[in-house]
């Protein structure tokens, strides 16, 4: 965290002192979120049933939120440079440094692409692009641009693919005050790491290929608390996003289809689809967000990536510089194929279900900065661990996660 902050401040001071990029046609923009989290209950770790919380343990499934004050979950810093080559062509690149990518606070290229403005309504972009699965996926790292400290995990955690190498098209229509944006895309994503359910990663080798599908393979659970990532690629990825609205209202629908391969799970070119609908409104001081998604993955591959569906609704009301808000969210199993009562030996998806209620408040600090506070009540459902790192100790049915964050854009 400290190292991360020092590097962030270093880049900031170079920028402000030098005005290196004051050239016409070159823009530098940046964003920063510094956040702290604390969870009041630690789930059980290990194999044995536990009755007492181990204390000061990890809480969220990726281990970034714990039963102690931590700074890694939400803190990040990004820098974006865009250059106008001529009236038709722009170059845009974004560097990102996240405290959660521990050990290495170096800035990484988040995306970089060239935009070709064909005509007024039509632009084509090619390169490494942000994948727009949901309403705010495009700017998910930019805390200032949305009301929460982190977008509802029940929806936003569901797609481990955040960028793609490929091409997209932005086609914009204006009909009076109403505008419509069509964004078809095609590409691939490789080198990605996805968190996989601990329920399927036990044993060495973790997955034994099984001769006749189904089942594709036998999986062995790991002890609760295991954090396991797998490398995956997503090929032949195509989809479309359609969004429309006025300055105050946006409605959006998206569809994405790709072929997923994860060698560690003996998964090769299995079809995965994401469908989502959602909308947002910021009108007469009322702020509203709502989204619903479904993720479906071909039989056999859903051991690592279970079929899921989820939704959230956020309602807020601006009172001067304050935006108090409340969010209801739920993640559910999306009718994974029947598994004969033992999900671990048939290769079918592990149900991970939870609901949460979050109360938050955002306060504007002038223009381009805010501070937020949140209290999130997370409840794992139907005997699953939800998005927590393990089952809750006996007598506990929910976890409170408290967060504070400062967001800047410049």
């Amino acid at each position: 965290m400290k190292k991360w902050l020092v590097s962030a401040l270093g880049v900031l001071s170079i920028l402000s002192a030098g005005q290196v990029f004051g050239v016409e046609g070159v823009r530098v923009n940046g964003f920063l979120t510094a956040g702290a989290t604390y969870a009041d209950t630690a789930p059980c770790l290990g194999n044995t049933p536990c009755t007492v919380a181990p204390g000061r343990g990890l809480v969220s499934q990726d281990g970034n939120i714990a039963n102690k004050v931590g700074f890694t979950n939400d803190s990040r810093f990004g820098l974006q440079i865009s250059a106008k080559i001529n009236s038709k062509v722009d170059l845009t690149g974004q560097l990102l440094s996240r405290a959660r990518d521990n050990n290495d606070y170096a800035m990484k290229a988040n995306w970089a692409f060239v935009t070709y403005h064909l005509t007024d309504p039509l632009a084509i972009r090619a390169g490494k692009l942000k994948l727009t699965t949901f309403l705010i996926s495009d700017y998910i790292e930019v805390g200032y641009a949305y009301p929460w400290i982190r977008p509802p995990q029940e929806v936003y955690y569901s797609n481990p693919i955040s960028t793609m190498n490929g091409v997209d098209m932005l086609y914009r229509f204006n009909l009076g005050r109403f505008s419509l944006l069509l964004q078809p895309y095609y590409g691939a994503s490789s080198g990605g790491q996805a968190l996989v359910p601990q329920e399927v990663v036990g044993g060495v080798p973790q997955i034994q290929p099984n001769p006749a599908p189904p089942p594709y393979y036998n999986v062995v659970p790991s002890p609760a608390g295991t954090i396991a990532y797998t490398s995956f690629t997503a090929d032949s990825m195509y989809g479309i996003n359609v969004s429309g609205g006025t300055n105050a209202f946006t409605l959006r629908a998206g569809y994405l289809k790709t072929l997923v391969s994860a060698p560690a799970f003996n998964v090769t070119n299995k079809t995965a689809t994401f469908s989502s609908v959602g909308g947002s409104m910021d009108w007469m001081n009322v702020v509203l967000y709502a989204e619903y998604f479904q993720r479906r993955i071909e039989q056999g591959a859903n051991a690592a990536f279970p079929d899921q569906k989820g939704w959230y609704t956020t309602l807020g009301y601006r009172i001067g510089k304050f935006l108090p808000n409340v969010t209801f969210a739920k993640l559910e199993d999306n009718n994974n194929p029947p598994n004969g009562g033992n999900p671990f030996t048939t290769g079918y998806g592990t149900p991970l279900e939870q609901s949460s209620v979050t109360g938050g408040i955002r306060y504007e600090l002038g223009t381009g900065a805010d501070i937020k506070f949140e209290a999130e009540d997370v409840k794992p459902l139907n005997g699953t661990r939800g998005l927590l790192i393990g089952p809750l100790p006996a007598g506990k049915s929910h976890v409170m996660i408290y967060s504070v964050a400062l967001d800047l854009v410049f």
């Binding site: 823009r27 845009t92 910021d282 504007e364 854009v409």
Partner: protein, 146 residues
């Protein structure tokens, strides 16, 4: 003598009228284009679409490059409030979403009234807004916002 008084009165009226007009100009915001711009005028709605990055073109289909005043300029705040209908925080939030998703960039800041006027005067496809009191023949008024 009466004639002289009449002349004086007319003169006073003209001056009063002039300064009245000047006052109106002082209070008004002017949307300006280059003198070479063939448009006779532009609607506030079209200006808003251009400043929100939803259109890159003048209503007649020619390409437009709009410029902004510096960040804390009172004229800028007035322009966004009256023409676009958004406050500074709303505008910042609106552009944050577009900038960081790589979908657009807001108009470039070129400075205050004089700088915007000079910029528009030297760019045939330029569009800007200035305080009415700095208007002169180097730019063409496309819309007066009272």
């Amino acid at each position: 003598m009466v004639r002289l008084l009449k002349k004086l009165a007319v003169l006073l009226l003209v001056i009063a009228g002039f300064s009245g007009a000047m006052n109106v100009a002082n209070a008004a915001l002017a949307i300006i284009g280059n003198p070479a711009n063939p448009l006779e005028g532009i609607s506030a709605a079209d200006v808003a679409m251009i400043y929100l990055g939803k259109s890159d073109e003048f209503p007649d289909g020619r390409r437009v490059v709009a410029v902004d005043q510096y960040r804390h300029s009172p004229v800028r705040a007035e322009f966004y409030r009256k023409v676009v209908g958004m406050g500074p925080v709303e505008i910042k939030s609106y552009w944050s979403k577009l900038i960081f998703s790589g979908k657009g960039q807001p108009p470039q800041n070129v400075g205050g009234n004089e700088a915007v006027k000079r910029w528009v005067a030297s760019h045939p496809n330029g569009l800007g807004y200035v305080d009415g009191k700095v208007l002169d023949r180097t730019v063409k008024v496309l819309l007066i916002v009272p």
